[in-house]
Symmetry: C2
């Protein structure tokens, strides 16, 4: 059975066309990002989100936003490139792919120090498109490797959204599930809603249901009871950053799921492309954790869900130590956390 | 320092006056429950909630709703009593205090088999008022026992709402915290928001802030990260039902907190009056777990938070096994879970 997945981000007529994920699941809408302000706003407001999709949107967005500057003197054009890259990079400090994708474009600029604006822009466009294409391919490879850990009839618990909406292809942690469905296997997915922004109930449930898969939504806090009562075979999540010792930064709540999975003897698997790996950090303690605005907790959905001025702890990510991770599924194969240093170039 | 707490439920001019907790924290409003339909609706819609407060509202509500029936023939009056008690009992299957409070009133009726309607009603009113008074006293005793486990400067993580809004007094798991504040101690409270109905962020944060205490709200899924990073000294929660072997049914999410607390070596304490104890059940496996409506997850706050027709796992409670509970704080003292059978009458 062929699986149809949404396209979170793509190049369209000189702009970056994205699905505005803040509207889902009630509404479906696409918007075009043309200027650097559009790109910054879309990433910061999570209209486009998911570490790989952010990387693609950042790369394509940098290229799109440079188009009006092609007639500037070369030095000014290159200054704009650096300025825009910096502004885009600052939007989300934890997602490794964002900095990685922008670095790839800046490396092109360095390599083409004497190119004309047009030549440089063409090269940047090709590199950004390549990042997108590679991501699509990486998703499929992660899916193929992860499929070895699944079986017909499996129940998988997942967190946040790590599917087509988070990537340039069929996702990271959802990729094996899509490939299982392609094979005709029945896999039951338990999707935690993922407060505060509900990427699980709004996005994962939407894209899996749209593709005809079996998905059940639960509150984040019901995950431990689900492991106890619903027969969970494995927990599979994505990653925003994996550091040298195998510690994993991912959506807030991942750490608690890893502890609960270990308590129940359920394998805890992380699916992430190697572009999420950051060997410059020795351990999770060094990862900078983004704090989101307090109103995501106090008034996230147009109604007051906490007292106006109550203090909140609003870390967007947590760090799961390597010893709670049973395996990391990458496009290059399945690794134990302590083995990922092999992927270091 | 004297602490001022809200009154969740009280007798007022022939009716049961409750704070409508579905309006908090944005609005404060009280409503009067006069007929049995009012009582059933208020409990089912969680306008009044928290196991002890439900017991009090049920008892006072049964008495209020019988007033118009005083002129019926005695046999019919007693038939109404049984009918109303049954209708109120069916509203929430997991809260032990509900059945317990109603049983106390039915026992009065049995003991006064030959009393007139007026005599019986007076006796029922006195019993319901006694249930309320005893609860207020129980809260204070739980607070005094629990205070021994606290210290000035402690950080306590709690779940759901177990304060004045959940009881007839200063709460169960929040009672020691209120008494600590009375002593002038500084206790920092971390309140999980408690999806789907946000009793933590809406109610616990509201009543603690109103009383001048230090409270920080976090998503349920941030609790494990908070234990790792914020220096949590103990986790203190309430209970809807504690069974003979010490297993505890409480708000969904409690089980995951207990697992995470054990992982971090943080004491996990349950505060509950002995009216929440159900020695008729040998273990947690026998507890009937209420499932709430799917729309609490799919559209809980007037906006769509999941696809319309997506299946949900909506258990309102989970069961924490006794081996994860370090102690149970009751009005009669602090017990290890395996010791509670001593409280059996």
């Amino acid at each position: 059975m062929a699986i149809e997945v949404p396209r979170a981000v793509r190049w369209h007529d000189g702009a970056v066309r994205i699905i505005d994920q803040t509207l889902l699941p009630g509404e479906y809408g696409e918007i075009d990002l043309v200027q650097v302000e559009d790109v910054v706003e879309a990433i910061r407001s999570l209209r486009v989100r998911g570490a790989p999709a952010i990387g693609i949107a950042a790369a394509l967005g940098l290229v799109a936003s440079l188009r009006p500057d092609l007639r500037l003197p070369p030095a000014e054009f290159r200054a704009r490139l650096l300025e825009y890259a910096q502004r885009i990079r600052e939007t989300r400090p934890t997602a490794a792919n964002l900095a990685w994708a922008l670095s790839r474009l800046l490396a092109i600029a360095e390599a083409k120090a004497s190119a004309s604006n047009e030549e440089l822009w063409d090269a940047l466009y090709r590199e950004a498109t390549a990042i997108h294409e590679e991501d699509r391919e990486m998703c499929r490879r992660i899916g193929e490797h992860g499929l070895k850990l699944l079986h017909d009839g499996a129940t998988v618990l997942t967190h946040c959204n790590t599917g087509a909406l988070a990537t340039g292809g069929i996702g990271t942690a959802l990729a094996p599930i899509y490939l299982a469905a392609e094979r005709g296997w029945h896999v039951r997915v338990l999707a935690t809603e993922t407060r505060p922004l509900l990427q699980g109930s709004r996005l994962t449930a939407w894209e899996l249901q749209r593709a005809g898969l079996d998905v059940t939504v639960l509150t984040d806090s019901a995950a431990a009871a689900a492991m106890d009562r619903l027969g969970v075979d494995l927990v599979m999540v994505g990653a925003d950053r994996v550091v040298a010792n195998g510690d994993v930064a991912n959506k807030i709540g991942t750490y608690g799921l890893a502890i609960a999975a270990r308590h129940h003897g359920i394998p805890f698997l992380v699916a992430a492309p190697s572009s999420s790996f950051d060997f410059s950090l020795a351990s999770g303690e060094e990862i900078s954790i983004e704090e989101r605005g307090a109103d995501e907790l106090r008034a996230g959905f147009g109604c007051q869900t906490a007292p106006d001025d109550v203090p909140v702890y609003s870390a967007a990510f947590d760090v799961t130590p390597a010893h709670l991770v049973d395996a990391i599924i990458t496009e290059k194969g399945i690794f134990k956390p302590h083995e990922i240093s092999r992927l270091r170039r």
